[in-house]
Symmetry: D2
Subunit: 118 residues, 4 copies
C-alpha cells in the first residue's frame, strides 16, 4: 500500500475517511432511488456534505498539511451529524445503517488523529 | 467495508484510485522537501493533476454516476503521464517509485473498469 | 481580478465554469426542497456530477494544467446532459431554467477553450 | 448571473472565494516556474491548501449547507496563512502580490459571512 508514504499517525484516519466518503456518496445515491425520496432529503444533504469533507480530510492528511488536524476536526462534526440522521433510517435501509457505521468510525478516527502529538 | 454498497465492478477500481490519490499527494509533498526541488517541478504538477482526478474518479464511481467510465478513462491518461514522470526518479526516490507503481495499478484498474459491461 | 494571472484564453471558460458549478449546486439544493422530489432525482444526479466537473475544470485551468483541455471536453458533455434534463423542468422551476442556461453557456465556453491553440 | 439562486448573503463571499481559489492555483503554478523554487515551497504548500478550501467554501455556500459558516471559518484561517506567506514575496513576484490580496479579501468576506444571521 502506498500509505507507507503517509505519516504513520494518519494512516488509520485516512482509511476511515476514505471509507466514510464512499459510504456517504453511495448512501446519497441509494436515497435518490428510494420510493419515499422526500423522507430522505436531509440524509442526502448530510451525505453530500460529509462525503466532500471526508475527501478533503484525506487529501490534507496525504499532503501532510499543517491544517490537517483542523480539517479533521470539522470532518468529525459532519460525520456526527450524518450518522445521527442515517441512524433514523438504519432499521429499514441497509445503506443508511452502513453509512452511519462508517460515519461513527470516521468521527472517532478523526478525533484520535487530532489528539496525537503534531 | 462500506464498499459493499458499491457496484461490485467498481470496487477494485475505487481502491486503486484511493491508493493512487494519496500516493500522488504524498509524492508531491515529498518532492517539495527534496534538496533539488527544481528537478521535481514536473513531477509535482503531474502528482497534483493525478491526485485530483483520482479523487474525482472515486466519487463518481461511489455515486454510481453515468459518467464514471468517462471520468476513469481520463484518469487513466493522467495516471500514465504521472507514472512516466515518476519513473524517471524512481531509482533514487522512494516516494516516486511508490507513486509510479500506484499510478500504473490505477491506470490498469481504470481500464478494466471501463471494459466491463455497463 | 486575480484572473489576470490566468492564461487569457482561459478566462471566459473559468468564469462560465464557476457560474455553472454554483448554479448546479444551487439547483440540486432547490430540487431537494421541491414538493415532488421524486420527479427531480435525475436532475439532482446530473447537477451533482456537473458541479463537480465544473469545479475540476476551474482548478485545472487555473493551474495551467496540460490536461485542462481534456477536462473541459468532458465537462462540456456533462453540461450538455445536465442542461437537457434541467430544460424539461425549466418552464415551472426557475432554478432549473437558470441552471440550464448556465450549463449551455459553460458547454459552449469549454468548446471554445478547446478549439484555441495550446 | 446564476448567483441569483444563491442566498443573497453568500454572494460576496462566493465571489471572493472563487477569486481566491484561482489566484492560489495560479500562484502555485507560477511558483513552480520560478528560478528559485526552493524559496517558494511553503508558498506552494499554502496555495495548495487555500485553493482547496476556497473551492470547498464555494460549494458549501452554493449548496446552502448548514455547515457553510464553519467551512468558511476554517477557510479564513487558511487565507490568513497563505496571505502572510505570499506577502513575503509580494515585492518581487506579481503572482504572490495578487494572491496575497485575493487571500486578504477572501478572509474578510468569510468573516463577514460568518457574522450574518443564519
Amino acid at each position: 500500500m502506498a500509505t507507507a508514504l503517509m505519516p504513520q499517525q494518519y494512516q488509520d484516519c485516512i482509511e476511515a475517511c476514505q471509507d466514510c466518503a464512499i459510504s456517504c456518496d453511495a448512501c446519497a445515491e441509494a436515497c435518490l432511488g428510494e420510493q419515499d425520496v422526500m423522507m430522505m432529503v436531509d440524509c442526502i444533504r448530510l451525505d453530500r456534505d460529509c462525503a466532500k469533507m471526508c475527501y478533503m480530510s484525506v487529501t490534507f492528511m496525504a499532503s501532510g498539511s499543517q491544517f490537517a488536524r483542523q480539517v479533521c476536526e470539522l470532518c468529525a462534526k459532519m460525520c456526527d451529524a450524518c450518522a445521527e440522521e442515517c441512524e433514523k433510517h438504519a432499521a429499514h435501509m441497509d445503506h443508511c445503517r452502513q453509512c452511519a457505521e462508517a460515519c461513527r468510525r470516521c468521527a472517532e478516527a478523526c478525533r484520535n488523529m487530532m489528539s496525537m502529538a503534531a
